[in-house]
């Protein structure tokens, strides 16, 4: 149960970090720095993907008897 909660907390942390990357990418895109903006979008998306994998692991961990 503790491991599941820890994984969920890490997932929440990564989700929050992804929002920061999206804010950075929005600033770069609005400033016409398109390549840097797209790179930050990619990093934000990858961060969300990592967070979702941790959340999936948390669900499986919680479902274990």
């Amino acid at each position: 149960m503790l491991k599941s909660l820890l994984l969920l907390a890490l997932a929440a942390l990564l989700l929050a970090f992804s929002l920061w990357f999206f804010k950075q990418s929005g600033d770069l895109l609005a400033g016409r720095d398109y390549i840097a903006g797209c790179l930050h979008v990619f990093v934000g998306y990858s961060t969300i993907r990592a967070a979702v994998e941790l959340a999936r692991l948390s669900v499986v961990q919680q479902a274990r008897p």
Binding site: L15, L19, G26, L29, G31, V52, Q62, A63
Partner: protein
């Protein structure tokens, strides 16, 4: 559901119509008044019979006659400039909320959750399931707000860059929330078979070769160096 639908119609039709009639010298003709009332009927029908065809097709389409009869309702007076962008953002946010309350209801018997059979059984186990709609909604709003906050100051000077920023934001909401959070996480959260398959795969992990490990360490090292150079330059 009724509140979200009425808010959407008010933002999309009634407030612009009120503005046009009261302050811009427009006239409220009987056909336009009837077209403005049409979404109310569709909304009541969608609330009375919770079916996807009514909620996701009839109700949104019922707004079109009024928009066609008076193009000023969707013209530059309403959606022009920075305030217009804020109005458009509000309409998009409420429309997303409408789709959310239609597709992810928690009450059985609504559009996407059929009523359960009337046999008494053990109560369902409550796990992380209630988190899914909340996380999806919060992340949708967070991602959209992150891009909108960047686009709004640039909307007056550089509308093209602001539009592109919003477009990327909407795409990221769709990809991140629709495909990853609701798709991948929701699948494991709600489907017992998927959960069992993932648990089995985790119990029998593939053998990791040392070359793969060294490649991963090398790529992580290069990525960290590039990131550090990028932010510290």
């Amino acid at each position: 559901m009724l509140l979200v639908g009425a808010t959407l119609t008010a933002l999309l039709l009634w407030l612009p119509a009120l503005h046009l009639v009261r302050w811009s010298g427009g006239t409220l003709t009987p056909p336009l008044a009837a077209a403005l009332a049409l979404p109310v009927l569709a909304l009541l029908a969608a609330a009375w019979r919770p079916r996807p065809a009514l909620a996701l097709w009839a109700f949104p389409v019922s707004h079109l006659p009024a928009l066609v009869l008076d193009p000023g309702l969707s013209g530059p007076l309403v959606y022009g400039g920075a305030t217009g962008l804020a109005t458009l953002s509000a309409v998009v946010a409420v429309a997303a909320a409408w789709v959310a309350v239609t597709l992810w209801p928690t009450a059985p018997g609504s559009a996407s959750v059929p009523a359960p059979p009337a046999s008494p059984g053990a109560p369902p186990r409550r796990g992380l399931e209630p988190l899914l709609p909340a996380v999806a909604l919060l992340m949708s709003l967070g991602i959209y707000a992150a891009f909108t906050l960047s686009a709004l100051p640039a909307a007056s000077d550089d509308p093209l860059a602001a539009s592109l920023t919003l477009l990327v934001g909407v795409t990221m909401v769709w990809l991140s929330v629709g495909r990853l959070i609701v798709g991948a996480w929701g699948d494991v959260l709600l489907e017992r078979d998927t959960r069992a398959r993932l648990a089995t795969a985790l119990e029998h992990p593939p053998r990791t070769r040392w070359t793969d490990l060294w490649w991963a360490v090398f790529l992580a090292f290069i990525g960290a160096i590039v990131g550090a150079i990028w932010y510290l330059r």
